[in-house]
Amino acid sequence: MSQDVFVVAEHLQGKIDDVTYELLGKARELAGQSGGHVVAVLMGSGIQDQAGSLGAADKVLYMEHAALENFNPESYAKALSHILEQNKPRLTLIPNTSMGMDLAAAVSVKNNLPLVAYATDVQFDNGQVVATSQLYGGKINVESVLEGDSSVVSVLAGSFPADAGKQDGSPAVETVAAPDGLDQTRVRFKNLIQPEGGDVDITQQDILVSVGRGIQSEDNLPMVEELAEALGGALASSRPIVDNKWLPKTRQVGKSGLKVKPKLYFAVGISGAPEHIEGMKDSELIIAINTDPEAPIFEVAHYGVTEDLFDVVPALTEKLKS
């Protein structure tokens, strides 16, 4: 058993995702408390160079294998399980992302390790790992104590600043042999599908009016579009609007959509699920309209309105036009 804090590095198309640096920064703080080292786990093929960007770690464990060239839920889980079995770190931090979701619960079962998911904070408290999860659509925080001398926490992207974990350097790189049969998988990666170019790139807009489930019907979209026009901005949306095919995927803000940082983010009828907040919370000015005063969007908004959007939006559009 060690006191080390492991961080599973996430990468796509040869680029380390920012969430990795967020976790590395946090791991530095935690390892200081546990008296262990920060170890980054890098799995892939031909990406050993990336270790140089993981300078916030004391050591990088690198597993190279053709079956790890692209993320694969099965080969990556097998590889990570093997690494955790060999090292038994005090704590393993995994991003609670699309990729991380396929890993954290898998190693929890395979290695019989406690897991807490959707964490926005992790601490050592009297030698125990305590994780705070954001549950019930961001309406309730749940603090869990993890038992045992090795456990896993999957952490929501955006929970910690990336800067603390963004250090170039040359951490010691230790190459780990892949477990046998890593390429004998029942899941096979085929290819990546890039998003289609849209009419509007919402990541480049200064002003976004973003519409959510509160709009109720596709017929009400023009009303919000008119507000966007009056403000000189573009229309964006939360996930349900895109799932309903009312707007194209290129307009979707959030975890599986785009991350935006406009000067003004005007949220209309968006409750603010954690997946949405992740994509817009760094906007310079956030104004939100939602009839539910408990809606999590008001946690990140600077200004809030709980009046009916069907009254406020036309009134605002009219005043802007006059």
């Binding site: 079962v109 925080n141 408990e294 809030g304």
Partner: protein, 255 residues
């Protein structure tokens, strides 16, 4: 293709959630429950696959608040079988335990595919589908938004950030965590649900194994801190509009 869809009732997030006196659980006395919305998508995708390629859809739920209604509604939408797990596993039971129970029930059933919602609002200890797949030792992919059969396997699309997707081929049987069905989940008219309640039968089974090592416990539940949040604008719609315009002018966004 024979598809199993495990579904779960979760608190309706539209309503106000209160925490109990111990501060370790929701105050569940007056909570209303609804089907996890991602499970609705999993069911829709299963029904679409059945309509296109034949086979059956079996919906499985744990006994609890409004479970029967959820199961009858699933049949009204087109599911062939509804199964209720009768063990005492109240809302808030950790997913490790639910997954273990499901695995013990499913190990006696024939299936090609298990579709679960990618996540639920109360997944404190990890996502049900991934846990279930690992207890069953079948492959899994989560955050899936497209499924198509392909020579005894399925081709699936998994969503990453920024609109990028990865395509995988997955051998069957498999567990998929569905993010979104190809179309909006269908609606079952109340009259049809009533008719199903008179005609259809819900099968009851008991899970033989509910022993899972969770390894964590809830110490405290609390609502996110207020105060740091938004400054609320009050008044008539016109007054609010004027306040907003003033803010935009102050920030230099609008002249």
């Amino acid at each position: 293709m024979n598809i199993i869809v495990p579904v779960k009732q979760v608190p309706d997030l539209v309503e106000e959630l209160e925490i109990n006196e111990d501060g370790t659980d929701l105050d569940r006395d007056y909570l209303s429950y609804k089907l996890n919305e991602f499970d609705e998508h999993a069911l829709e995708e299963a029904l679409l696959l059945k309509e296109e390629h034949g086979g059956t859809v079996t919906v499985i739920a744990f006994e609890g608040e409004d479970t029967d209604k959820a199961l009858y509604t699933a049949i009204a939408k087109g599911a062939d079988r509804a199964v209720k797990i009768t063990n005492d596993l109240p809302p808030g039971t950790p997913n490790h335990v639910l997954a273990k129970a499901l695995a013990s029930v499913l190990s006696g059933m024939e299936y090609d595919l298990i579709l679960t919602g990618v996540q639920a609002a109360d997944d404190r200890d990890g996502q049900l589908g991934v846990l279930l797949a690992n207890y069953l030792d079948v492959p899994h992919v989560s955050v899936v938004s497209g499924v198509a059969p392909n020579n005894g396997a399925v081709t699936v699309q998994k969503e990453y950030a920024g609109g990028v997707m990865a395509e995988f081929e997955v051998d069957l049987p498999a567990v998929l965590g569905v993010q979104a069905a190809r179309q909006t989940p269908r609606y079952a008219p109340v009259s049809r649900v009533r008719q199903v309640m008179r005609q259809a039968e819900i099968e009851e089974v008991e899970a033989s194994d509910t022993e899972a090592e969770v390894g964590s416990s809830i110490r405290r539940m609390f609502k996110p801190e207020k105060g740091a949040g938004a400054q609320m604008l009050e008044g008539s719609p016109e007054e609010i509009a004027e306040q907003i315009i003033k803010i935009l002018q102050e920030k230099g966004i609008k002249k």
